[in-house]
């Protein structure tokens, strides 16, 4: 990317006042986890087994890869008997630049044993309420399927790509021809470009129970045989995605299959296949306790908690272009 250097580009993106605010919030967060008896951990940023997620690209270095989340290492700690843990640290994703994206960003990720995703959602709500102190903006919950029915009039259980296309186009967003038959890509575009903008402004919305095809590392709930769902949730603030959580998959064989499917998808998309994290698979074989986990974009949380912030770079000491 071209860097246009001006006389003031040496200066930080965030104001010094914002950086002080940021530091104060970090301190509050550590306090909250300390009081909740959740252990702070640090895991490596330079890792041997990278994410295989077909839509996330890792920075690759000789022999190691920069992590895109702390998930795999945290699960290895859980399997080793750490009990509840959290990490506040940097993660890295290639080419993610925009008003809400910086390729290097800070993620807050935590895991709780013995609970499912709904109980973790309750905890995330309490955590956010703690940070907002007296003016908590509100927290609504809706399932992914209900949200689409309510906002788009489309039943995602019907797997109907032409209905999705029609809805997205009727909302004024053109659909690239390449994805007309790609159900998940249509869900992603519809969600990011249309549905998210219809969520209640200035309040949190928790969307839970995603289609099975969007399970990522969540357990599948097959209680409705017609429409199995991933035990996954996302938290939005207005139209901005803030956090993503799972009732975690603990089945090693299933995990191995999902990694292989991801790599197959990467190959179809002409992307490099990524080395599977065998340490994680071994940890799952040993036994990952039943748990739920969530990862939250800390810089985006700053955008919500601080006033007068309109772009992620205003929360960062130095963004990608000034780094």
């Amino acid at each position: 990317m071209d860097v246009q250097r001006t006389d003031s580009s040496w200066q930080p993106n965030a104001s010094i006042a914002t950086l002080k605010h940021r530091a104060a919030i970090v301190r509050q967060i550590r306090e909250w986890f300390y009081k909740s008896n959740i252990l702070e951990v640090e895991t490596p940023q330079l890792v041997s087994g990278a994410t295989t997620d077909p839509h996330i690209d890792s920075f690759q270095l000789p022999g190691r890869t920069l992590r895109t989340s702390a998930e795999f290492h945290q699960k290895r700690l859980l399997a080793a008997g750490s009990g509840d843990i959290y990490e506040l640290g940097k993660v890295f994703r290639v080419d993610e630049t925009g008003r809400y994206h910086n390729p290097e960003f800070t993620m807050l990720e935590w895991y709780r044993g013995g609970i499912d995703h709904h109980q973790l959602i309750d905890e995330v709500e309490k955590f956010l309420a703690y940070l907002h102190v007296t003016d908590f903006p509100g927290f609504e919950r809706i399932s992914y399927r209900e949200l689409w029915l309510k906002t788009a009039g489309v039943d995602v259980a019907a797997n109907d790509t032409s209905a999705l296309c029609a809805f997205i186009e009727s909302a004024g967003c053109d659909v690239p021809r390449l994805i007309h038959k790609d159900f998940d890509a249509l869900l992603d575009l519809g969600m990011a470009a249309v549905i998210a903008n219809c969520l209640a402004k200035d309040t949190y919305t928790c969307i839970y129970d995603y289609p099975e095809s969007q399970a990522s590392l969540a357990k599948i709930d097959r209680s409705d045989p017609e429409f199995p769902v991933a035990s996954r949730f996302e938290i939005y603030y207005g139209a901005v995605e803030l956090a993503n959580g799972y009732h975690e998959l603990t089945d090693a064989a299933e995990q191995q299959t999902r990694f292989e499917q991801d790599n197959h998808q990467r190959k179809l998309n002409a992307k490099t296949e990524m080395p599977i994290d065998h340490y994680l698979i071994d940890a799952l074989h040993h036994g990952l306790p039943e748990c739920a986990g969530v990862a939250l974009g800390f810089d985006r949380l700053m955008m919500i908690l601080l006033t007068d912030i309109s772009a992620i770079e205003q929360t960062l000491s130095f963004d990608w272009l000034r780094a």
Partner: protein, 189 residues
């Protein structure tokens, strides 16, 4: 022309869409954390000036448009074409009426303009925000009337007619805001 990928998109980049050259006005990166990424761009058609929104899947490529902006000197018009000269190579190019539609009434011989070339042909001509032109005809003003108030028509050396304050006189040089076509002040000697 080379192809450009969506991760090189930025405002000002010129691309080809459906056979027409466009400039990117705004580029928004959208991506659910666990899903596919898209670029939603606002693009302006350089031929029609119309702005539309387009969505691209991340990693998709489009053809770059061979569009460049160059400073040229306006020479003359022959009724069909407006001729411009490259001050370095002395090469002359004729621009058709649609390319000069927005600026033709302010074009004065030997003035320098920015000519946007597409595949070497003039696509549009842009003038500085302010140009200085001489008044060739206007009714005599009222002496001492420098306060705000009335205006009167004045014909400029290019033939354009603009509204000027009453105190402006024939033979004076005035500034014109080319974006609005309005009087922008007197030019003092």
């Amino acid at each position: 022309m080379a192809n450009v990928s969506t991760n090189e998109f930025k405002s000002g980049l010129k691309i080809m869409l459906d056979g027409d050259p466009y400039t990117i006005v705004e580029n928004e990166f959208v991506k659910p954390g666990k899903g596919q990424a898209f670029s939603r761009v606002k693009v302006r058609n350089l031929k029609t000036g119309r702005t539309v929104e387009k969505t691209f899947k991340s990693g998709e490529s489009v053809e770059a448009a061979d569009v460049m902006d160059t400073d040229m000197q306006y020479l003359y018009a022959d009724g069909e074409f407006w001729y411009f000269m490259d001050p370095v190579s002395f090469e002359q190019l004729g621009a058709n009426e649609s390319a000069v539609a927005d600026v033709k009434q302010w074009l004065k011989e030997q003035d320098t303009c920015e000519v946007t070339l597409w595949n070497g042909e003039p696509l549009s001509v842009t003038l500085p925000n302010f140009v200085e032109l001489k008044i060739t005809q206007t009714d005599p003003g009222l002496k001492g009337d420098t306060a705000q108030g009335g205006t009167k028509p004045a014909t400029l050396e290019t033939g354009a007619v603009v509204k000027v304050p009453l105190f402006i006189e024939e033979g004076e040089v005035i500034k014109i805001d080319t974006r609005t076509g309005e009087y922008g002040g007197r030019v003092k000697d």
